[in-house]
C-alpha cells in the first residue's frame, strides 16, 4: 500500500492509549482480586495494622510506577511505530531510485512524495560503505576518531541534520511537506551522490568528476527542488527554500569528493613528476601509499623550513 500524504498527526498514540487503558483495567481488577485474597491470609500473621499499611502503600507506589513505565515503554518503545514506513516492495524501491534522477515538471499541483524510510536508510548505509572505500584507497589517516565513526557521522549527520533544517525552513516558508516526506526526499536524493562517488573513487579523473557532479548531482537536486516548488506558494519562499537545498546538496557532494581525495593527488604529483600524465589509474597497495604520504609530508615540511 502506498503511503499517502498523512498529516493527521500521531494517531498511533490514541490507539496506544486505548489499548493501554483496557489492559490496565484488566490488571487492576486482577490485582484487586489477588490482594483481597492475600489480605485475608496475611493480616493475622503481621505485626499489626501499621506494618500492613506500610507494606500496602509501598506496594501501591511500586505498582503505580510500574504501570507508568510500562505505559511509556509500550507507547514509544514499540517498534511497530516504524512498521508502516518500511512497507515497500523491491520493485517500488527500484522505481523510486530511478525516479530520483528524473525531475518532474509539475509545479502547479503538489507532487506526490512517498513517505518511506527503507530506501533512504539503505542509501545512507551504502554511502557510508562507499566513503569507507574512498577513505581507505586514499590513505586517509584520522587521528582523533575512527574511519568508521567519521563516515557514519558524516552521512547520518547530513541526512538527519539537513532534513531537519530544510523542514524548519519549509515550516517558515509555509511549504506543505511533512518531516517524513522530507527525510524520504533527501534520502533518495543521496542516490545521485552514491553513483557519482562510486564511479569517481574507482576512476580518478578530475574532469569526469566535475561532469558527473553537474549532471547527476544536478538532476537529483532538480528533482528535489521541483517537488518542493510544487508544494510552496510565492516566489520568495520558493527561492529561499530551493536555493538553500540546492546549495547544500551540491556542496555536500563536492565536499565528499575533495575531503578524501586531495591526498591522492598530492602523492601522484610527488612520486611521478610532471612528465607523466597525472590522471592514470594505478593499482597500488595501501602501505606504500601511507609511506609515500609520510615521506612527502616530511619533505614538504623540510622544504618549507629551509625557505624560512
Amino acid at each position: 500500500m502506498e503511503n499517502m500524504d498523512d498529516t493527521s498527526g500521531s494517531s498511533f498514540e490514541d490507539m496506544g492509549e486505548m489499548h493501554q487503558r483496557i489492559k490496565e483495567d484488566e490488571e487492576v481488577s486482577e490485582e484487586a482480586a489477588a490482594t483481597e485474597e492475600g489480605d485475608d491470609g496475611e493480616f493475622l500473621g503481621m505485626k499489626g495494622v501499621r506494618g500492613q499499611l506500610g507494606r500496602q502503600v509501598a506496594d501501591e507506589v511500586w505498582q503505580a510506577g510500574k504501570r507508568q513505565a510500562s505505559k511509556a515503554f509500550n507507547l514509544y518503545g514499540n517498534i511497530d511505530i516504524l512498521r508502516p514506513y518500511f512497507d515497500v516492495e523491491p520493485i517500488q524501491v527500484r522505481n523510486r531510485l530511478l525516479e530520483s534522477l528524473i525531475p518532474v515538471r509539475i509545479v502547479n499541483f503538489p507532487q506526490k512524495i512517498a513517505g518511506e524510510l527503507y530506501g533512504p536508510l539503505m542509501l545512507v548505509f551504502t554511502l557510508v560503505a562507499i566513503l569507507l572505500h574512498g577513505m581507505k584507497t586514499s590513505g586517509t589517516v584520522i587521528r582523533e576518531g575512527t574511519l568508521m565513526g567519521t563516515a557514519i557521522g558524516t552521512c547520518f549527520g547530513y541526512w538527519l541534520g539537513i532534513s531537519s533544517f530544510i523542514y524548519f525552513l519549509a515550516y517558515l516558508c509555509n511549504a506543505q511537506i511533512t518531516m517524513l516526506q522530507m527525510l524520504s526526499l533527501l534520502g533518495y536524493g543521496l542516490f545521485g551522490h552514491c553513483v557519482v562517488l562510486f564511479v569517481t573513487y574507482s576512476v580518478h579523473f578530475h574532469s569526469l568528476f566535475y561532469i558527473l557532479w553537474l549532471v547527476v548531482g544536478g538532476l537529483s537536486t532538480l528533482r528535489m527542488v521541483a517537488a518542493l516548488i510544487s508544494r510552496t506558494v510565492g516566489h520568495t519562499p520558493r527561492l529561499i527554500l530551493c536555493g538553500t537545498l540546492s546549495a547544500l546538496h551540491m556542496l555536500f557532494l563536492l565536499y565528499l569528493h575533495f575531503a578524501y581525495h586531495k591526498i591522492v593527488e598530492g602523492i601522484l604529483d610527488t612520486l611521478e613528476g610532471p612528465n607523466v600524465p597525472p590522471f592514470q589509474r594505478v593499482a597500488r597497495d595501501v602501505p606504500e601509499v601511507s609511506v609515500a604520504l609520510v615521506n612527502a609530508t616530511v619533505k614538504t615540511i623540510g622544504v618549507a623550513l629551509q625557505s624560512y
Binding site: 517498534i79 539503505m122 560503505a129 587521528r143 568508521m148 565513526g149 602501505p287
Partner: protein, 227 residues
C-alpha cells in the same frame, strides 16, 4: 403418525443426573528426574557442552542447508568468539600503529554488533517472523567464513605484500564474502514474505561487504621508515 428422525438436535438427557468423580490431567513424570540439574555438574562438562553446541553450529554454517538448528537453539557465544577473534586480528594494521591500535578493535566490535542489530531491526520491520536474538545469532555465526579468510590473509601476508599476494587475498576474501552472504540468507530469508527477500538480503550484503573490505585492505604495520 410422523416418524421423528433421530438427529443430533434430539439428544437430551431427561432429569438431572449428577456427575461425580475427579478430573485430573495425567502429567508425565518430569524428564530430568533421574538427572541432576545442570547447576551441580562440574564446570568442565558445562564448558564442553557449550563448546560442542558452538562447534555444531559452525558446521552448519560451513555447509549451509535449510535446517532450523541455528534458529532453534540460538546462543551468542559463537558470535562473541568470532567477533573478538576478528577484531583482534584486524588490530594494528595501519601506518601509526601505536595510535590506531585501540580504536580499531572497538571499531570492528561496534560495527559487527550494531550492524547485526540494525539488520535485525530492518528484517523485523519488513515483517519477518524471526526473533531478535535468533537473528543476531545467525548473523554472528555467518561471520565464520570471513574469520577464516582473515587467518588465511594473515598467513599470505607473511609471505610478502606484492601483487600476487593481493590477488590471492582478493580471491579468498571474495569467496568467503559470498559464502557468508549465502549462508546467512539460507537461514534468514525463509522467515520473510517471499516477495521481500531482496529487501532483507541487501543490508546483509552491505554488512558483510564492509567487513570483507576491512579484511582485504588490512596490512600489517611495519616500522616507520622516516628520513
Amino acid at each position: 403418525m410422523e416418524k421423528v428422525q433421530p438427529g443430533l438436535s434430539d439428544v437430551s438427557i431427561s432429569g438431572d443426573i449428577p456427575v461425580e468423580g475427579e478430573i485430573t490431567v495425567p502429567v508425565g513424570s518430569p524428564s530430568h528426574d533421574d538427572e541432576y540439574s545442570t547447576l551441580d555438574e562440574p564446570v568442565k562438562e558445562t564448558i564442553l557442552r557449550d563448546l560442542k553446541a558452538v562447534g555444531k553450529k559452525f558446521g552448519h554454517v560451513m555447509y549451509p542447508k535449510k535446517s532450523t538448528t541455528l534458529l532453534r537453539d540460538w546462543d551468542l557465544w559463537g558470535p562473541l568468539l568470532l567477533c573478538v577473534t576478528l577484531a583482534l586480528m584486524l588490530q594494528g594494521g595501519s601506518a601509526d600503529s601505536k595510535e590506531d591500535g585501540g580504536p580499531q578493535f572497538a571499531e570492528v566490535f561496534v560495527l559487527i554488533w550494531f550492524g547485526s542489530v540494525i539488520i535485525t531491526l530492518n528484517s523485523k520491520l519488513l515483517g519477518g517472523t524471526i526473533s531478535f536474538f535468533q537473528s543476531l545469532c545467525v548473523l554472528g555465526y555467518c561471520i565464520l567464513p570471513l574469520t577464516v579468510a582473515m587467518i588465511v590473509c594473515r598467513l599470505v601476508l607473511l609471505g610478502g605484500t606484492g601483487t600476487a599476494s593481493f590477488i590471492v587475498r582478493f580471491i579468498v576474501v571474495v569467496a568467503s564474502f559470498g559464502w557468508s552472504t549465502f549462508a546467512s540468507t539460507a537461514f534468514l530469508a525463509d522467515s520473510q514474505p517471499p516477495n521481500r527477500k531482496a529487501l532483507v538480503v541487501y543490508p546483509v550484503f552491505l554488512f558483510y561487504f564492509v567487513i570483507s573490505w576491512m579484511i582485504l585492505t588490512f596490512s600489517p604495520s611495519h616500522s616507520n621508515t622516516g628520513p
